[in-house]
């Protein structure tokens, strides 16, 4: 049985979308058709003081209540207060997960904050406000601010508030901050949570969570030193030189749920147009570090691959432009998605064929679809974008670039955080699957750490990577193998179409499966999403016994005794394969039997009971048997035991690989001896 939540926020939103006049037909003054509800709209005027690393902001927020209940509060995320001091929930959790971006030494200038001076109704009085800690009650946390309104905003009603604030830009935490004169500014302004009718969904900032917001229009003026090259969500609609060494850039974008910008005097701007039959064109703007210019094509190619394949598989990219940011060395802002803008992340040396920066570029470009266009709640269900996107990234990479070669980066200076500077590509060692071996391994080691249905913000620190990304991608790939891409692709496309510019819940995805898969898949989701079962099938034994007519048999004259014959001369064998289910997870599997004469037999097993015996009589002995020979069930946590030969052949491969290891050991010993 599927456990389903009663509250169907997603459908409600979709229903509102149908009746909302602003959505169905209205045109904005600019003449554009609204793609989303546009109920959270921001006008922001911000000035960067590069000396003090401060942002001075004034913003107007226009919020429309699209729910059926009224509210007399506005809840804001103040994300940057996560790095205000060590007592924030983010810092506490970061310590706990032991993966601190910026562990122990945080200088005075490295901290960040978002200090709100004023919140008032447009032209009206100052609003009463307080900090809230709905998740953990941490009284020292300042990442959620609640403003009380003098009167409730009724369903369909609108409220306009004005805020003034100052933000201290941190040295990069969680991919946002500065390094030298490079700025990457994300989740930087007081930002509304999502009103869900019964309450505000406005979680504190957690070390391992991402974000959730309503769609709207952003109109942002950025005042920066005039030599800065700027990238931001949306398109630049105006640039004004202020004559005081600064310039004001105005960016505007509708139908997005966040606004991010970056600025640096070093960026080199490159542009290219994505044009593919059947998809709307996209102006790609690439902001590159000068030292990476030779890799520009690789960034464009990977972005195009994502725009094309995601576009064909799921739905078109609607914005017409995208900004691809190549972050500064050591800035820590690499590999992150924002609406119409994303960061990749490459290194000075990155051999082609090793999967980077192509993989990260495809992944973050892909987030424009899963995260940007389909805007799930990442606080509670990060897997909905990360998992779907990781699976899709694997498919795009596989289709476009083939199997990745294994890369090791050498010259990692001791005591530093930087990965090795000098990569060596091992061309012979390749990862052939859509899901990489390292991802399978990450899942294997954390298969039972968390139940995916558990809210992300409550999950074990390791689970974001291992459950949200890896496990989801693996069960989707399993479903692709099981149902076929021709079935899975329309399901994902329908989910995309139904929920673009909306906030789907997990059940909404499963509903689409129910409708379009042509079969009931509750048994599958119950195991992979609502539970933490481990899958593991093995071939326990493979035997071939000569069929002998020894003993008493019915003959012409009653029972006759036949003596034992010569086994070797037998021309028929009884072949027996015992398949076992070692894990709690159940999945129908095929068993392939390969015989010495080259013939093959495939048998299906429902995989339900603990074991089964498969027998096959024939003229040839078995050579080997494989359960799940096509690796449909990628969730299987042990593939080595999936196959078994009747006569093992493990001596030569063991000696071969041990001899390679031994050469390394001999050299290692010589290295130890060098200290004598």
């Amino acid at each position: 049985m599927l456990r389903r939540s009663g509250f169907r926020a997603g459908l409600l939103l979709a229903a509102i979308a149908l009746i909302d006049p602003a959505l169905s037909s209205a045109r904005e003054p600019g003449g554009d058709v609204a793609l989303s509800l546009r109920n959270a709209n921001y006008e922001i005027d911000v000035r960067l003081d590069p000396e003090a690393r401060l942002l001075h902001g004034r913003q107007t927020v226009v919020w429309r209540n699209v729910r059926e209940a009224a509210t007399d509060e506005l809840w804001f995320h103040l994300y940057w207060n996560a790095w205000r001091n060590r007592d924030s929930t983010w810092m506490r959790e970061d310590r706990y997960r032991g993966r601190s971006d910026r562990g122990d030494d945080v200088d005075r200038d490295d901290w960040g904050y978002l200090d709100v001076h004023s919140v008032r109704l447009a032209g009206g009085a100052e609003l009463e406000r307080r900090f809230a800690a709905p998740d953990d009650g941490n009284a020292a946390d300042r990442t959620v601010m609640v403003a009380s309104l003098p009167a409730a905003v009724e369903p369909g009603g609108e409220v306009r508030v004005e805020l003034e604030w100052t933000a201290k830009v941190p040295r990069t935490f969680a991919r946002t901050g500065f390094r030298g004169d490079y700025y990457f500014i994300a989740h930087w302004f007081p930002k509304l949570g999502v009103f869900e009718g019964d309450r505000w969904n406005c979680h504190q900032y957690h070390a391992a969570t991402e974000y959730f917001s309503d769609y709207g229009t952003y109109d942002v003026r950025l005042t920066l030193p005039e030599d800065f090259v700027v990238g931001a969500t949306g398109r630049e609609v105006e640039r004004r030189d202020n004559g005081d060494g600064t310039a004001t850039h105005r960016y505007r974008q509708a139908d997005v749920h966040a606004f991010t910008w970056t600025a640096s005097p070093e960026y080199v701007e490159l542009t290219r147009r994505f044009e593919v039959d059947g998809l709307p064109p996209v102006d790609m703007r690439l902001l590159m570090q000068p030292e990476h210019l030779s890799q520009a094509d690789r960034h464009f190619n990977a972005t195009s691959a994502a725009l094309e394949l995601y576009g064909k598989w799921y739905g078109a990219y609607p914005y017409g432009h995208v900004t691809v940011v190549d972050p500064a060395y050591g800035s820590g802002s690499g590999g992150m998605e924002y609406p119409t803008l994303f960061t990749c992340g490459t290194r000075l040396y990155n051999p082609f064929g090793g999967g980077r920066p192509e993989g990260v570029t495809v992944h973050e470009a892909g987030h424009q679809f899963w995260y940007g266009i389909v805007g799930n709640d990442e606080f509670n269900s990060a897997w909905l974008d990360e998992g779907l996107n990781t699976f899709s990234t694997g498919r795009v990479m596989h289709e476009t670039f083939g199997a990745n070669a294994w890369v090791k980066r050498y010259f990692r200076p001791p005591g530093t955080d930087s990965g090795g500077f000098l990569p060596v590509l091992f061309a012979e060692i390749r990862d052939p699957g859509v899901i990489s071996s390292s991802r399978l391994s990450r899942y294997r080691n954390h298969a039972t750490t968390d139940v995916p249905a558990h809210p992300t913000w409550r999950a074990h620190p390791g689970s974001i990577g291992n459950i949200s990304y890896s496990k989801t991608a693996i069960w989707l790939a399993t479903l692709e193998n099981y149902l076929g891409w021709e079935t899975l692709q329309p399901i994902m496309a329908s989910f995309f179409e139904r929920w673009k510019f909306g906030h789907p819940r997990p059940e909404d995805l499963f509903d689409v499966f129910d409708e379009l898969a042509g079969q009931d898949l509750d048994w599958f989701f119950d195991q992979v999403f609502y539970d933490d079962v481990r899958f593991d099938y093995e071939i326990q034994s493979v035997k071939s016994v000569a069929v002998e007519a020894e003993g008493w048999f019915e003959g012409d004259a009653g029972l006759e005794f036949r003596p034992a014959g010569d086994e070797e001369s037998s021309d028929e064998y009884r072949n027996e394969v015992v398949v076992r289910r070692l894990g709690e997870g159940r999945f129908p599997v095929e068993v392939l039997m390969v015989f010495e004469d080259g013939s093959e037999v495939r048998r299906r097993w429902d995989g339900q009971y603990r074991w089964t015996l498969l027998t096959e009589r024939g003229p040839s002995k078995l050579e080997y048997a494989i359960v799940d020979p096509d690796r449909v069930l990628l969730l299987d946590t042990n593939f080595t035991n999936n196959s078994r030969r009747r006569e093992s052949e493990n001596r030569l491969p063991s000696v071969k690989w041990a001899s390679k290891w031994m050469v390394w050991l001999q050299d290692l010993l010589a290295t130890f001896a060098s200290f004598v």
Partner: protein, 321 residues
């Protein structure tokens, strides 16, 4: 610069007179590694069991199998890495040596390394004796001279361990503070340049300790010094007073080592051996590289002996130019 070149050539010449030393040292290295290799082989064999993956592993490295193997293995067995194929094995160790992370390896490997280092302290005494005399090596003479110097060499090693420790701590401090000082630099090329300079300094310091250690041993062998401490001080003085000569031979032999590594990278066996013959051949090709490495080590010792002999006022023919 003719001094070090001449010494390097003389070092090679000394080695060529006592070639069988090379074979002995290689066999010692091989035999020492063998038991652990059997252990790893057995562990791989257990992991494969009767699985068809054994077949796959004859053609290529199945990365899924490798992660399953590693996840299920512990200790020494878990140190099988994809990078150990081909030239990567030696790059891995170079990195371990440079970073000092060699001492953070699996305890089993460190224990093996420590034992081997002790064995080496015995062997190198024998080797130095013959490199000096040029006499036809006999096993009895080899171990006789090794045993004679063994405890003094061990004491030198203990003294040098302190220096190595300081160099590695300094290296860590150096890179950490450079990382901090370059924290506003946005260009990887610039940071890499700074790190490479720092790495050159660290390597120089590591080599310096190695040189002091070598000349301390040379002094013990040539002058029959009893005190490891005084011999080490003699090593320090010698290196400091003959910087061009001592560094020169290390540089020459080091460059030769890189050339050998490059040549090996051209012929290094890959992942595809699927018969006993090719597996053994691949192993032998790698052994050639290991023998070359050993030969370079002995050449260096020979060159250092030569340099010391010609430069040291105590030596008979002190005609150092």
């Amino acid at each position: 610069m003719t001094g070090p070149i001449r010494s390097a050539i003389n070092g090679a010449a000394r080695l060529s007179r006592v070639r069988r030393l090379l074979v002995w040292l290689w066999i010692a290295n091989l035999l020492f590694a063998l038991p652990l290799a059997f252990q790893v082989s057995a562990s791989i064999e257990r992991s494969i069991g009767a699985s068809q993956v054994g077949r796959t592993l004859l053609e290529r490295l199945d990365l899924i199998w490798h992660t399953e193997y590693q996840d299920a293995s512990e200790g020494v067995s878990a140190t099988l890495e994809p990078s150990q194929v081909g030239v990567g094995a030696f790059l891995d160790n170079l990195e371990l040596w440079f970073s000092g992370e060699i001492f953070e390896l699996d305890p089993g490997l460190i224990a093996a390394g420590a034992l081997y280092a002790l064995l080496w302290a015995l062997l190198i005494g024998g080797a130095l004796g013959y490199l000096q005399s040029g006499a036809r090596p006999t096993l009895r003479g080899f171990f006789g001279s090794g045993g004679e110097f063994f405890f003094r060499f061990v004491r030198v090693t203990v003294l040098m361990a302190g220096l190595y420790y300081l160099v590695y701590r300094f290296s860590e401090w150096l890179f950490e503070s450079l990382e901090y000082r370059t924290r506003d630099v946005t260009v990887e090329k610039s940071v890499l340049s700074v790190y490479l300079l720092a790495a050159a300094l660290v390597v120089l310091l590591l080599v310096l300790v190695r040189m002091i250690s070598d000349y301390a041993k040379v002094a013990i062998v040539m002058e029959d010094r009893r005190s490891a401490l005084l011999a080490s001080l003699r090593g320090v003085r010698f290196v400091l007073s003959h910087p061009i000569g001592t560094l020169g031979v290390v540089l020459i032999v080091g460059v030769a080592g890189l050339v050998v590594l490059y040549l090996y990278s051209l012929v290094a066996p890959g992942v595809g051996q699927s018969t006993w013959t090719t597996v053994v051949l691949a192993f032998l090709v790698s052994q050639l590289f290991l023998i070359a490495r050993l030969a370079l080590r002995l050449t260096l010792l020979g060159a250092e002996l030569d340099l010391y002999e010609r430069a040291s006022p105590l030596a008979a023919n002190a005609d150092y130019d």
